[in-house]
Amino acid sequence: MTPAVSADGVSKDYGDTVALSDVSISVSSGEIFVLVGPNGAGKTTLVRALTGTIEPDEGLVSVLETPVNDTDPSRIGLLPQSFAPHDRLTASELLEYYAGLYDQSLAVSKVLSDVGLTAASETRYVNLSGGQKRRVCVGSALINDPEVLFLDEPTTGIDPVGRRSVWSLLDALSDNGATIVLTTHDMAEAATLGDRVALLDDGELVESGSPGSLIDQYGGDSVLRIETEETLSEAQIGQFEGDVEQSPSGLQIRNVQPDTIGQFVTQLNELEVRYGSITWTEPSLEDAYLQLTGNDSLGSATGYRKSSAYSDP
């Protein structure tokens, strides 16, 4: 199957800074492909190379089976990362303008409805909330009903409810056959939305694959963390089953299944060890990323991440 979007050996330097180094990806039609990485990883540069707004120093980029510079622009949609439209115009006026750039476009009212802004259609951009503003911007990228949609951090600044509505929208677009390439440094978003995820670090593609496969392969074991008020002796530690380590704040036990957590609690009580909290963490995309990159640049300074800790950095 011919990929809808492909990059082959793309490199881009800005002076001494290597923004992209020999990056190759392939995105199938109808797929949601997520580029993940911290700030400066090269996500935005790759999106710009994929949309043809920058020229790679090396490598080839194709979109919809043609070199990107020859691709019909009306088949592509782009939401830039830092995009601030004129703030004295209303949401509908802004979308009407972008619609006017295309020979064929969706009805403004439909796009406003899709991004959940029908009620705010006549509100000036300046008076919209942060999440509403971002949704207007997403709407501007959708106005030409693109076959391939590039979204650079589409949910940044959007509240959880708004974010989930954008996710639903993107899912629906994908279900209708649109190919979506989006960037995020929100691992939860990547894991939730992405059919496949590419992990970027320092301009290099570290790994790509489905979120599940990446976690299975690189996420490591589940971890039970017990915050104790005292340091346990070697003898006490030896009474626990499994791979147990003493950490500065307590115990860290790997590869624990949820149904066995009660046994550890019983043992703690029997040993009369006072503890503060018990946290069980299953492996995540973030763990896989950290494992692959060997750094902690995504913000897990404590070394402890809760199971729901796919937090925004």
Partner: protein
């Protein structure tokens, strides 16, 4: 490019620009525009005539000269019974005699009075139905020594010369030519009769001396000056003229026909031209602020990025965004022109200037990293382009240097002065080409990497210069495209330096021109090497330098348009442009400039391939050689 998309972007730009104005700012701008619109006509209608009521003339109401004095704004009629020469009067009309004191002002007053008499007589004669009777042709042969043939006429085709004692007092305008045929002069006409008229509609007629007119007997006087001139005691007019002429600092440019009054000594203060130029130029400074803000806001807020992936081309975007400001400028110009009585020619003449303002601002908006930098850039643009357009236009009708400004066309039209097509093209072509090249450079930079990256302004300028250099031949092409800037810069240098003494200005100008041309031949070459566009090898540098020199040599022939208005005939004009247009000898007519430009461009390129410091050194050496060449050529031309 597609017109509908361009128009769509233009409408959008207009909408957003207006939408971004709050009510107070909008009202303030409207008030300024209304005031500006009202200012022009008001200034013209109530324009304070320089020197109005400047001279107090003692003349009784019963005198036939009383009406003459009233007709001349510079003269104020005072009853001689209430004042005397020692009591504030500048001259006294006593019967047919003019009585003046031995002061410059008094003598100037006498000159103005005499001109007023001539004008008044002409006016009266013009009322006659029998034109032949009113303006009889009288030929008077007067033999003079050859040494007296000193009077030159700066206007081609004018018959005024010392052989014609009647002369033409028609000023410097072409209109005087036709009048001369009708003009008749009295045999006893004095040299003062050859005074250029101080301008105005009677310019070509003021030389007419009607034998029966009262002026005939009034003006002519041979008596020696006397500090204690009393009523009836005449003034020696010829001596007045000598004093006045010797005081003119611009005789070399204006000819030696200067005489008479403060307003006709040296250039009369061109208040009307100044006001007109000001009124037309001022709105551009507001327009470019709005446009520059729009360009940089587009970049800072990354509004342009979605456009770059839309079907709109870079041309659509650039033209669409500039169009409202360009049309706005033209609309304001058209309104002002209409209010002042101007026509389409004024608007067409001003269009390249408006485009140049906008193009320069476009580039400044692309290069600036912040609004602060943009402010600095737009102020620079305002000062430079205002200087280029405004200062020469002030001297419309006074000096050929005025022809370099499109505003001169406007001022001339509004003042009813004919404008030759050569003058029109000369005034508008450099600005047109410069604007086009600036837009081309800017459009080349209208890419994500240049729009949204924040690099120091000089670095981005080098990016812009290096961007189009995809091949060796493009180096020569872009060198050629810089010629309009070379022309504008050299004209600006001429206009700036022409007030200095020739002994100082010509060497200075030769140096400035050498630097301007060497920079034009090498700056993009340096940018190309800096950005890795060229192989920094020796052979490559020589090839690139040679191509650049050849491009300059071929394109500089555009400088020949300076001949359209006779600019090279001026001392400074010759220094500035003659070395580009002629060789040392006929044999070298073609090859000397070619060799010069090639050699100096190669020298700069050899420096540019190594480093910035070496480039500057190479540029210095190249400029030195160029200067030496210019000195030799100008010296050989005498």
């Amino acid at each position: 490019m597609r017109a509908d998309r361009t128009l769509r972007i233009a409408i959008w730009e207009t909408t957003t620009s207006l939408g971004n104005l709050d009510r107070r700012t909008g009202i303030a701008i409207l008030v300024v525009l209304v005031l500006l619109g009202a200012l022009g006509p008001a200034l013209l209608v109530s324009s304070p005539a320089p020197g109005a009521d400047l001279y107090r003339v003692g003349v009784s109401e019963s005198s036939s000269y009383h009406v003459v004095v009233l007709s001349e704004p510079e003269l104020q009629a005072i009853d001689p019974a209430s004042a005397s020469l020692n009591d504030g009067l500048d001259i006294v009309i006593a019967g047919p005699n003019v009585v003046a004191k031995d002061t410059k002002k008094s003598k100037a007053a006498a000159g103005v009075f005499r001109e007023a008499v001539v004008s008044y007589n002409t006016y009266l004669m013009a009322q006659e139905r029998d034109r032949t009777a009113a303006f009889p042709v009288t030929v008077t042969v007067s033999y003079v020594q050859q040494s007296a043939l000193q009077i030159e006429d700066p206007t081609e085709g004018t018959e005024t010369n010392a052989d014609s004692p009647n002369g033409s007092a028609g000023g410097s305008g072409i209109a005087s030519t036709s009048t001369i045929a009708e003009s008749t002069g009295a045999p006893d006409r004095t040299p003062l009769d050859e005074t250029p008229d101080s301008g105005g509609d009677d310019g070509g007629q003021s030389g007419t001396d009607e034998p029966d007119s009262p002026a005939q007997t009034t003006v002519v006087s041979d008596a020696a000056p006397n500090e204690d001139n009393g009523p009836g005691e005449p003034v020696e007019d010829e001596r007045v003229e000598d004093d006045v002429i010797s005081s003119s600092p611009l005789d070399g440019f204006l000819g030696t026909e200067q005489a008479g009054t403060p307003t006709s000594i040296s250039p009369p203060f061109p208040l009307e031209s100044l006001l007109l130029a000001f009124v037309f130029l001022l709105p551009f400074n507001f327009v470019i602020q709005a446009y520059g803000s729009s360009v940089i806001a587009e970049r800072i807020n990354r509004r342009g990025e979605p456009l770059l992936v839309s079907p709109a081309t870079r041309g659509d975007i650039v033209v669409g965004k500039a169009l409202p400001y360009f049309l706005g400028s033209l609309s304001i110009t058209a309104i002002i022109a209409a209010l002042l009585g101007g026509g389409i020619r004024s608007v067409v003449a001003i269009a390249p200037l408006a485009a140049l303002f906008i193009a320069a601002t476009f580039l400044a908006g692309l290069l600036s990293r912040s609004f602060k930098e943009l402010t600095f850039a737009t102020v620079t643009i305002s000062v430079v382009l205002t200087g280029y357009a405004f200062l020469p236009a002030v001297f419309a009708e006074v000096h050929p240097i005025a022809a370099i400004s499109p505003l001169t066309i406007v001022v001339n039209e509004l003042q009813g002065t004919p404008v030759a097509w050569q003058t029109f093209f000369f005034a508008t072509i450099p600005a047109t080409f410069s604007a086009a090249v600036l837009f081309m450079l800017g459009t080349g930079m209208y890419r994500e990497e240049d729009l949204f990256t924040q690099r120091p302004l000089p670095q981005k300028a080098l990016d812009a210069l290096a961007a189009p250099l995809h091949s060796l031949w493009r180096v020569g092409l872009w060198t050629g495209l810089f010629i309009p800037f070379v022309l504008v810069a050299e004209l600006l240098a001429v206009a700036t330096l022409y007030l200095l003494p020739v002994a100082l200005s010509i060497p200075l100008l030769l140096g400035v021109i050498a630097i301007i041309e060497e920079v034009a031949k090498s700056i993009h070459v340096f940018a190309g090497f800096e950005r890795g566009r060229f192989d920094p090898g020796l052979r490559s540098a020589v090839s690139i330098g040679a191509i650049s020199g050849l491009g300059f040599f071929l394109a500089e022939k555009l400088l020949a348009i300076t001949q359209l208005v006779g600019l090279p005939n001026l001392d400074l004009g010759q220094a500035a442009f003659a070395p580009e247009l002629v060789g040392l000898t006929p044999a070298l007519l073609l090859f000397a400039p070619l060799v010069l430009h090639t050699v100096t461009a190669v020298i700069s390129a050899l420096g540019a391939r190594r480093s910035r410091r070496w480039y500057l050194l190479g540029l210095l050496v190249a400029s030195g050689i160029h200067l030496a060449y210019n000195v030799v050529v100008v010296s050989s031309l005498g």
